[in-house]
């Protein structure tokens, strides 16, 4: 490591530099933290991203609009449906068409199921990072039920490519409603167990309360959205600010706390799972009949610039399309939530210990392919 460029000046005595990553069991993905430590305390931290840059935005310039969805669900792969929904909504906004009610209901139900699945995986990995190794298995066991629902209707568990500009690719399986209702009932019984195992535990509370304080001004300045920002009091839920799909029809609460430490970022996500369950319950019994796909001649955005934002499980995803009338976009840019959430980690972890760094980066819930695209 001595011959690589060292970005940090060692000012005081007893400071040394440690690299956490790119291959490390607890940064979830390929991300390198160059940490300057003094004893056990973190003085300064520089994240290096870009290890998984695949050129999604450039590749999209040679794909047609319907083909974009096969790349977008590889950005933040844990909220694959929501990424696809973002691109579909942007293209539909550009063409000026509106999808049928059936499509809106199904899109919202799939998005909320994805949100629950993503939070389940986050909970499993967070517990495992802190040392409670059983949480990994409990969270994933319950997530399997959601993945079975996805597999039955869309054909894939993780990268579904189901929500496409104009509607959905196929119709959902006839068992969809029954399975989702069963899952909601099952999960309502299991979620209190998660609280008993981890949330109320005194060791866990000692590890996360008072750690990684993020003030409201910092959250707004760095653009930290999603549950991480809402833990500091930033009201940034796009589902409330600019509702899309079937969100105007449902009633749910936006969960914010104004404490801003790791424990409250954790609590935001736990409570969001309850809210997602109630959204699904409000929609699942009333899915209207209707066409799945719009009858369009060609899916092409007219000339101009279009922007659409949605709320993924990690924050605000924005899709910006510049089009000159061709079948492929001239330029497409994704404002990804993880890119903005990552760079606040230097500010909030200065002064804490190495063990807290793991807890803080777990509570920010970073998915690295989203940072690098």
């Amino acid at each position: 490591m001595e011959d690589t460029v060292v970005d940090i000046d060692l000012k005081e005595k007893e400071e040394y530099i440690i690299n956490m990553g790119p291959q490390h069991p607890s940064t979830h993905g390929v991300l390198r933290f160059e940490t300057c430590l003094q004893g056990e305390t973190v003085k300064y931290l520089i994240p290096h991203c870009g290890y998984i840059h695949r050129g999604i935005e450039k590749m999209s310039e040679s794909l047609t609009y319907p083909q974009l969805i096969h790349l977008t669900d590889r950005m933040d792969y844990l909220s694959a449906h929501i990424n696809n929904e973002a691109v579909s909504l942007c293209v539909e906004k550009a063409m000026g068409v509106e999808v049928s009610d059936r499509v809106k209901y199904i899109r919202t139900i799939l998005a909320e199921l994805t949100r629950i699945a993503s939070h389940q995986l986050w909970w499993s990995a967070f517990g495992m990072d802190l040392g409670a190794l059983t949480t990994f298995f409990y969270g994933l066991r319950d997530r399997e039920k959601i993945l079975d629902i996805f597999e039955e209707s869309t054909g894939a568990r993780l990268l579904q490519s189901f929500i496409t500009p104009g509607g959905l690719m196929y119709d959902v399986h006839p068992n969809f409603q029954k399975r989702v209702t069963e899952f909601v009932k099952y999960f309502r019984k299991k979620l209190p167990e998660y609280d008993q195992l981890l949330t109320g535990n005194i060791i866990f509370r000692e590890r996360t309360q008072g750690i990684g304080y993020m003030s409201l001004e910092d959250a707004i300045e760095f653009g930290v959205t999603g549950p991480s920002g809402r833990g500091s009091g930033f009201h940034c839920d796009i589902r409330k600010i600019e509702p899309y799909s079937a969100y105007p029809l449902v009633k749910f609460d936006e969960i914010t706390f104004d404490v801003g430490d790791t424990y409250h970022r954790y609590l935001v996500r736990m409570k969001e799972m309850w809210q997602s369950l109630s959204i699904i319950e409000q929609l699942i019994d009333g899915i209207p009949q209707g066409p799945i796909m719009l009858e369009l001649k060609a899916i092409k955005a007219p000339k101009g610039e279009y922007y659409q934002r949605v709320e993924t499980a990690r924050g605000e995803l924005g899709v910006f399309i510049v089009s000159d009338g061709a079948p492929s976009p001239a330029r497409i840019h994704y404002r990804t939530p993880n890119f903005s959430n990552l760079f606040i980690i230097n500010k909030i972890s200065a002064g804490h210990k190495i063990a807290d760094l793991v807890a803080i980066s777990g509570s920010l819930d970073l998915v690295i392919p989203d940072i690098d695209r």
């Binding site: 298995f137 597999e151 039955e152 054909g155 990268l159 490519s161 008993q196 109320g200 060791i203």
Partner: protein, 169 residues
């Protein structure tokens, strides 16, 4: 007053300890319950349960060209699926033949499908007008030699179904 404060602090100390131990006991109850009576074993004994393992019908395993029992397929080499594929995993090699009525027809020679670059996005299947391709539920694709993953989907000796049987869907 100072005495009252000390008594309160000592009381708080013991209350904290009790609180902490109670939360630990609650956590242990959850794992203990699963130890005594694991509600279900969520892992499957994979190679031994191949006989009963069934994927869902919509599962996107591998692309196949549908064949009837008489070894006939439905593909008319229109190239829609190759155009719909985002990364060129389908290549259609067609040939021209002169039919009975003297007009030259376009027929499928080789339908080349690259399993090693396919991303299973499923954009090819709805693009086909003849409903000729579909996804099978086969998931065991591991090979030792990468060239085996470039497959020719039309079976040897098969030809396209005659026009009166198919309707454009």
């Amino acid at each position: 007053m100072a005495l009252l404060k000390t008594i309160k602090e000592v009381g708080n100390y013991f209350l904290e300890i009790y609180d902490g131990l109670a939360s630990l006991a609650r956590g242990m109850k959850v794992t203990g319950k699963y130890f005594i009576k694991p509600s279900e074993i969520v892992t499957q004994q994979y190679p031994e349960n191949r006989a009963t393992l069934q994927m869902f019908d919509a599962f996107k395993g591998e692309l196949i060209l549908k064949h009837t029992e008489d070894n006939e397929h439905f593909c008319d080499a229109c190239n829609s699926c190759a155009r719909a594929c985002p990364n060129g995993s389908i290549e259609i090699v067609s040939k021209r033949e002169v039919g009975e009525d003297g007009k030259s027809k376009r027929l499928l020679d080789k339908y080349i499908y690259r399993l090693d670059t396919c991303t299973f996005c499923g954009l090819c299947v709805p693009a086909c007008d003849q409903n000729a391709i579909a996804f099978s539920q086969e998931f065991e694709h591991a090979v030792f030699d990468r060239t085996k993953l470039i497959k020719q989907l039309n079976k040897p000796g098969s030809h396209v179904v005659q026009k009166q049987k198919t309707e454009a869907k």
